[in-house]
């Protein structure tokens, strides 16, 4: 059967067809569609595949490990920066190993279309010493996923699949295979496998190091790594993942004259790299993201510069690859190209018309005129656009949850008013623990939770905070006299400014929940939220 699918959707379909019992994830561009596809899949619903969003990537990966502990196959999905949040369990589960097949999908974002950095997740995979796959196209995204589960169970290790934005968000028709049944519950035969106390952890770690040669051998013989012969050995090309497509695009009728080693599985197949190295005068490395392969094989002290790529300046060091920059690296002349006319101006994204964040920024900006020392620590979400004109209300933007903890540190340093602005979902993702830090010392900060009752930036997924924010803040220990709720509306501007002014004048932890649903939410969702709100008040 043929189906037109995004790279992300092909991967999700592959996971369903391999017999997963659950997917655990937190939304993040470019990874979001993987989980959404499973959530919307009729078959997944019939099979009772768990697919609800988790509070953050760490809780997602830990729950996935729990499902694998029970013997079932499970997928966990995140964007590259999300893996930083889950890095703790990620590194440790490579040591414990898994029981039911466990695949970690990480979608990287070269060119930072929607991210704070362009870190390359292959580094994490290597760090954890587990196999990594990197699909070339949508069909491989499907095929590799089904194979990765098989390999995961064979090696009893988690497997990483690395996607990149371009493949995640591009569609093609793919062939879909047969569907496997899910595993039944079955516990590990080794009673100590998941007990990483030092005496057991040492054994497990020894085991992980011990099976590295098996892992390498598997990659050496991988169906997904291909050595393609070519007559012109003046240059050999290593092309990883999607870079292979950009390479082939430059040659009519698949007629690349150079030998190519296509890489879709790591660790790097040493023997095949050696074969290419011995055969060719120089090696061009094409990989999206960091110069990961290039660094591994380049000899920095080799004056001959046999290995070329992003480190040697033959390709752009940052940003995505595409057919054009690869054409240049291949030495092709640029063909005819029009320029963008000068009159074309940039059109940056902006908050939706009627968005509640707008009214909140208006209030915050008005207070700026009263408090010139005011610093506003921002966080990840639509409201990050408040750092751009016309608002320019936010001074920092680092990672999920950093608004509250940075505001605390700045306050400790003597900055007042020190204001954190954080979304409801980001607050439950990583803000709650930082808030506890502030509560313990009653640090003079004002946390404004801009509660739009959704993970709006990635497409308005459900927020774990909905209906619970007040109780969570009280539970963490915020004084109820300094826990205020406002409705960000233009007609309430003065009233809201008064509330915020009072709270920032208070020399302790105060919270203002600025509550109005994202205008992109459906009517049904808004009705649901109204009910939730009543539960919270009663």
């Amino acid at each position: 059967m043929k189906k037109l699918l995004l790279g992300n959707e092909a991967l999700a379909q592959g996971a369903i067809d391999t017999g997963i019992s659950g997917v655990y994830a937190y939304p993040g561009t470019p990874s979001t569609e993987i989980t959404e596809y499973i959530q919307n899949s009729k078959i997944a619903q019939e099979l009772n595949i768990h697919s609800k969003w988790s509070v953050n990537e760490k809780t997602a990966m830990e729950a996935a490990l729990g499902m694998s502990y029970a013997g079932k196959r499970v997928l966990t999905v995140m964007k590259h920066v999300g893996l930083n949040v889950a890095a703790d369990v990620f590194m440790n589960m490579a040591v414990s190993g898994i029981n039911g097949g466990l695949v970690v999908v990480v979608a990287d974002d070269p060119s930072m279309h929607s991210s704070q950095n362009e870190q390359d997740s292959r580094n994490y995979g290597k760090f954890a010493m587990i196999p990594i796959f990197e699909p070339t196209n949508q069909q491989e995204a499907y095929d590799i996923t089904t194979y990765a589960f098989y390999l995961s169970e064979q090696l009893a290790l988690p497997i990483m699949i690395r996607m990149v934005t371009r493949l995640s968000h591009s569609r093609a028709a793919i062939n879909i295979g047969k569907r496997n049944t899910q595993n039944t519950i079955k516990l590990s035969k080794n009673p100590h496998q998941f007990q990483l106390i030092p005496m057991h952890a040492r054994n497990r770690y020894q085991h992980l190091v011990g099976i590295q040669s098996d892992i390498r051998e598997n990659s050496e013989n991988s169906y997904f790594n291909k050595f393609i012969e070519g007559p012109n050995t003046s240059m050999g090309i290593i092309a990883a993942g999607i870079a292979f497509n950009y390479l082939m695009e430059n040659f009519e009728n698949d007629s690349c004259p150079y030998p190519i080693l296509k890489i879709s599985q790591y660790p790097l197949p040493k023997r095949q790299v050696k074969k290419l190295f011995d055969k060719c005068k120089k090696i061009l490395v094409l990989e999206d993201g960091a110069p990961f392969i290039e660094e591994l094989i380049a000899d920095y002290f080799d004056e001959n510069k046999k290995v070329i790529g992003r480190l040697t300046g033959h390709l752009n060091r940052v940003g995505e690859l595409n057919p054009d920059n690869i054409a240049e690296a291949l030495g092709f002349e640029r063909t005819f190209a029009n320029k963008i006319p000068k009159i074309v101006t940039p059109r940056p994204p902006e908050l939706c018309v009627g968005c509640a964040h707008r009214d909140l920024f208006d209030a915050i900006n008005q207070l700026k005129t009263e408090n010139t020392k005011q610093q506003v620590f921002g966080d990840i979400g639509c409201y990050a656009l408040g750092s751009l004109p016309p608002y320019e209300s936010i001074n920092t933007l680092i990672d999920m949850g950093a608004s509250i903890t940075m505001a605390k540190g700045a306050s400790d340093a003597g900055i007042h008013p020190s204001i954190a602005i954080i979304g409801d979902s980001t607050f439950t993702h990583s803000g709650m623990t930082g808030l506890l830090d502030a509560v313990i010392e009653n640090t003079p900060i004002t946390v404004i939770i801009s509660d739009n009752s959704a993970v709006a930036m990635t497409g308005a997924q459900d927020s774990a905070a909905s209906g619970r924010l007040i109780n969570i803040c009280k539970g963490i220990g915020v004084d109820k006299d300094h826990l205020k709720v406002i409705t960000p509306l233009h007609k309430k501007l003065d009233e809201n400014i008064d509330v915020i002014r009072n709270e920032i004048n208070y020399k302790g932890v105060s919270i203002v929940i600025s509550q109005r649903p994202c205008v992109q939410l459906s009517k049904e969702k808004k009705d649901q939220l109204k009910k939730l709100k009543q539960v919270a008040i009663n």
Binding site: R166, N322, P349
Partner: protein, 194 residues
């Protein structure tokens, strides 16, 4: 046979609907397709584009190389020009004439039109007005698709069927409005070409 099409516009203007119609029609015609969606941060009113590639052979790159686009279809005149570096020498430009002004330094419309008309294969139409006349201003994008129809490697039937499939859920009336928009777009383009 290979056709590279760039769809351009501002978030929410319906370029992904055009892409979805092209996808469906291509699959049903047994041709290969790659369609990539290029959008930035949460696409709230920002520039968006989609690369659609249709071929009877294997398609490698998800992105169209510079200077290789056969057609650029845009639902907004300035966004059309943003992708000019992708246009082939004798490539076609098709755009709605109505600006989407959510920035304060939007260029003079006359300058934009002049720039567009410098290209010999350019079709500048008031698609929004046509869609309004039909009674569905949302169908502006479909008028533009109609205007591009003769340049696509897809049959009239397959495009019409794809429109039907895509709007199926919205009921008979909407399907017909969109089919009408498609026809009007075709008509206008043929008049302009002759």
């Amino acid at each position: 046979m290979k056709r590279n099409i760039i769809l351009a516009g501002v978030g929410g203007q319906g370029i992904l609907t055009i892409a979805a119609i092209l996808d469906t029609a291509t699959i049903n015609s047994n041709l290969n397709i790659k369609q990539s969606e290029v959008h930035g941060m949460s696409q709230r009113g920002g520039a968006v584009q989609s690369h659609v590639r249709i071929s009877d052979k294997e398609i490698f790159s998800d992105l169209i190389p510079e200077g290789k686009a056969d057609i650029i279809i845009s639902v907004e005149p300035m966004e059309l020009l943003r992708y000019l570096p992708f246009l082939k020498k004798d490539g076609f430009l098709i755009t709605d004439s109505n600006p989407f002004k959510n920035i304060n330094n939007y260029p003079e419309l006359e300058d934009l039109y002049k720039e567009i008309k410098m290209h010999k294969n350019s079709i500048l139409i008031d698609a929004k007005e046509i869609a309004k006349e039909i009674g569905n201003s949302k169908a502006t994008n479909i008028v533009l698709l109609g205007a591009a129809a003769s340049l696509l490697p897809l049959s009239n039937d397959s495009l019409q069927n794809a429109i039907k499939t895509l709007f199926e859920r919205k009921g008979e009336r909407i399907i017909n409005k969109n089919l009408e928009a498609y026809e009007k777009g075709k008509e206008i383009a043929s008049v302009m070409a002759s």
